[in-house]
Symmetry: C2
Subunit: 157 residues, 2 copies
Amino acid sequence: MTQTSTPTDSGTTAPQALSPQDMVCFSLYSAVHAMSQAYRPHLEKLGLTYPQYLVMSALWAAEAPPTVGMLSRQLQLESSTLTPLLKRLETMGLLTRRRDAEDERQVRIALTGEGQQMHGRSAHIAGCIAEQSGMSVEELLTLRDQVSRLRDNLRKG
Amino acid sequence: MTQTSTPTDSGTTAPQALSPQDMVCFSLYSAVHAMSQAYRPHLEKLGLTYPQYLVMSALWAAEAPPTVGMLSRQLQLESSTLTPLLKRLETMGLLTRRRDAEDERQVRIALTGEGQQMHGRSAHIAGCIAEQSGMSVEELLTLRDQVSRLRDNLRKG
DNA sequence: GAAATATATATCGTGCACGATTTAATCGAC
DNA sequence: GTCGATTAAATCGTGCACGATATATATTTC
């Protein structure tokens, strides 16, 4: 099927054909989809999508209400992605969006009581996923660091 | 900011707040975006998006024209994702979509000459990305296998 | 302090990506 | 051979995700 190990190639035909299965990028791409699927049943109970959950996680971990720009830098998402997503979370009653009095260009995102409360209801999820991953905590941490390093290098380049 | 190592928590407040940066899922999520950005300048010259490039890669590596279902299983994408994507590639003149004579439910995807030819023009890209990753080939292969294992485990669970 | 510049969000258009549903063809039971 | 069940694509609606652009506030220059 993928014929990586069958060099039948003899010049006239195409360059060695790397199938998606051979590529690092595809492993990441498909792993993200699998991850999103794994989260889905848990997040459905909270009424969240995976990207919404990431934003909520950032807010739960923040010491003070961040601006849209801070979230944008932390999550590496454009304002054109975040703005509508944040509006949806606002409509759900999980957060508020308020222009900063000091700098009216910025918008501060603050959790509501309901948004804060959801943290407790989400606390078990990470553990479930970790278990489902079939990898040890050590392996997962190593993998996380390797993947983060790859990401940072790609950004710099 | 993320306060992973500052256990100021004392019961009344939220459970330990895992920030996105601490999570394996986020490292994968952000790495995929970074990867897509890294591919962008190369793929722009071909007029392809990253998912379109994946489909083309699958076709370049295939021995015979696969069906939509085969591509769906290989790339783990729904027909609702593939069908419009394939239609765009067809419009670009890179492939043809033809119902199988043996089984009229299936649609066979075949490269056109132009689509076949693009393989050569894309051959250098993987190497550029590998270089940009700042990781050795060995490291990349190990990472690929680890990430693939994680993905497969998540799917099974 | 007015004009030029820079920064922070928001808006718009396009293309994934999925779940749910639909349509159409094949297969099975009888 | 016909009816019911299964399978393969396609369609529909929603929500990311981005680049390009717009808008509005802040900063800098003069």
